[in-house]
């Protein structure tokens, strides 16, 4: 079945440093979504990428979808304590409506 892996599993950064998480799918995707889950909370939708090579920005967050539509990345510039949480990518295959979530990257910030 479809597998979606993320690296790293954990990332500890000093406040103000940048952070990147990478997402890789075993199959080509029709689209990919990113979610953030705060400790003790539920996943919150951040963004969806659809086109090959697409890049989208939300303030300090930059999302990329790979040319082959099998990988994606999320980059946060100048992290803040509010960025703490686990970031999940979730991919959807062509002709299949369900989202398969990745393994997640847990970000902690050292003040």
């Amino acid at each position: 079945g479809q597998q979606v892996m993320q690296i790293p599993q954990y990332q500890h950064v000093q406040e103000g440093e940048d952070f990147t998480t990478y997402c890789n799918s075993s199959t080509t995707l029709s689209n990919i979504q990113w979610y953030k889950q705060r400790p003790g909370g539920h996943p919150v939708f951040l963004i969806q990428l659809v086109k090959s090579g697409e890049v989208k920005k939300q303030k300090r967050l930059t999302f990329q979808f790979g040319e082959a539509k099998k990988n994606s990345s999320l980059h946060i510039t100048a992290t803040q304590t509010t960025d703490v949480g686990t970031y999940f990518c979730a991919g959807r295959r062509f002709g299949n409506e369900k989202l398969t979530f990745g393994t997640g990257t847990r970000l902690t910030i050292i003040p």
């Binding site: 996943p43 963004i47 999940f88 979730a90 299949n96 409506e97 369900k98 398969t100 979530f101």
Partner: protein
């Protein structure tokens, strides 16, 4: 409602008992999803409804798990003969359409003792 509502927020049950978990999606959202999340892992797909019908139930682990959405709004996830391995947070999500982002509820934490 303003968000996806799940009840109960916590459920402790004895092994072998039957449980029902309820999800009230955002009004007008036709797509409804159930996921299960274990500690330190990503949400695992269980079942997806488009309207009243289960469009994809391939994630249900076995025949002890069943879900319904009789009127295309509220959904109930039913687990028979619960086992300790069923302990997890059960998340419900809804979306306007099948290509849109999901809005998740706060989840039901199920503990089987």
């Amino acid at each position: 409602g303003a968000g996806v509502s799940q009840t109960p927020s916590n459920k402790v049950t004895e092994k072998g008992k039957y449980v029902e978990l309820r999800c009230d999606p955002i009004s007008g959202h036709t797509a409804l999803y159930w996921y299960r999340q274990s500690l330190g892992q990503g949400p695992e797909f269980l079942i997806y409804f488009q309207g009243t019908g289960a469009a994809d139930d391939s994630g249900l682990p076995n025949d002890r798990f069943f879900a319904v959405r009789p009127e295309g709004s509220v959904s109930t996830l039913k687990i028979q003969r619960t086992e300790r391995g069923d302990s997890a947070v059960y998340l419900c999500a809804s979306s306007i359409g099948q290509d849109d982002g999901y809005t998740f509820g706060s989840g039901t934490r199920l503990t089987v003792v």
